[in-house]
Symmetry: C2
Subunit: 246 residues, 2 copies
Amino acid sequence: MDFRPIQAKKIYEEVVEQIRQLMENGSLKPGDKLLSERELAEKLQVSRASVREALRALEMMGFVEIKAGGGTFIKETSGDDIIQPLAMFLSIEKGSFFEIYEIRKIFEIAAAHLAAQRATPGDLARIEENLEMMKAAMTEDDSEKGEGSDAAFHFSIAEATQNGWLVRLLNTIADSFNKSISIARRQLYLTPGHPQLLIEQHTKIYEAIRDKNPILAQKTMLEHLSFAEGAMAKTLKIEPEFKLLT
Amino acid sequence: MDFRPIQAKKIYEEVVEQIRQLMENGSLKPGDKLLSERELAEKLQVSRASVREALRALEMMGFVEIKAGGGTFIKETSGDDIIQPLAMFLSIEKGSFFEIYEIRKIFEIAAAHLAAQRATPGDLARIEENLEMMKAAMTEDDSEKGEGSDAAFHFSIAEATQNGWLVRLLNTIADSFNKSISIARRQLYLTPGHPQLLIEQHTKIYEAIRDKNPILAQKTMLEHLSFAEGAMAKTLKIEPEFKLLT
DNA sequence: TAAATGTTAATGGTAAGACCACTGATCTTT
DNA sequence: AAAGATCAGTGGTCTTACCATTAACATTTA
């Protein structure tokens, strides 16, 4: 006999699917207000609890925003939050320091390369601005400001690639990463001589991008990241598992 | 007066947070069985519905597996599914073809580079095996088998990097991507002359990795991906927004 | 008139109880 | 010992009820 299993899909998944399709074909646009939970339950012929579970799932994935007492709305900027689960995972998963950092290196190197090809004058101005802020932070001996402008520097380079997805992914990885090793990162700035080195490295990166030299940009970025990796690994007392990306 | 707003965190978020912390500090290990929904509700002094909403969220993010009638378990291989929302997003978001493909190129090129440095004899054997399967698929004119072995070929290269995270991320992106453009992908194999070209390209990639030549590996991989991108864009009638990654 | 205030209906948030289908282990029968 | 029946436990779903918040409307007040 050629029987096929009876459909046993969970109800909330069906609800998610229907809403997803409405978003896909454009019937639901960002900002739109969804039917109330009670109305949805009635229309779909399911309990309100099932509708709620579906909306929870969509909320976690960043597709809708639920306002208590107000209603449920299709979220405007889906995309940034899509990767929230990744951030959560990074807080749990231990011992993959070099694996994650390698991925970050892959992204950042590519970003530097692309930025050198595509950066607009406005992009360059932003990058330089962040670089100047780093220098100011050093002379003021303000390590917190230093870290902030450092992150902003890398962010502005990612933006210069004109690839929104690259910006989102790189940011998620870098943010989660910086959080999970904040101690080592702090140490990176407090070690005598390091601030000057970091500024030199950042300056080289900026100049390569400014001069529209993709190869040099990715080379200087790699040198910078490898240096930071080594310094932080030292603080964390970890040994690299294999040869670094070159 | 200096009042601060009362914390009005949603209950299910609190539940998620508590479970997350238990996973983070190791009290909950992969494979462990969670308390039943009813027990959790009693221990946490919340309703079962709230517990269920929390478990739904954890399920969507791939941290737990819920078996009807069996129980809830901490998932073994969290990581593959972490990015499921990404797959859903790709089905909604239009017009980011080149952005996503660029990210895929970044990953694949880096993977080829690293594979050439780190591939073990076993890795090389697997890569070659998939290459042979592609050739067989071509002589048999089996386009489905061709696509499958093509994906397997790229997967085995990613595995050869010895970086589990790279494998996971690249797979998620490549899978979602291939699904969303399955028509164009099919066309890629049905166009006269293309199968031979694809095999030539794959062979060059394999040889570069085998000869432990990272630079050549990433060059041949880029050529291959750019060719595929151009062919698929033609089918989809899309024009690149900017110069391709070089 | 216009701003502040009170009212109210709708909405999401939570709780409690009930029943069903499925799972897995135990017990019974063969 | 193997096969089948039994049964307690679990997630899946539905129903009902009440609370807290929101936003729109109506009212009062300066």
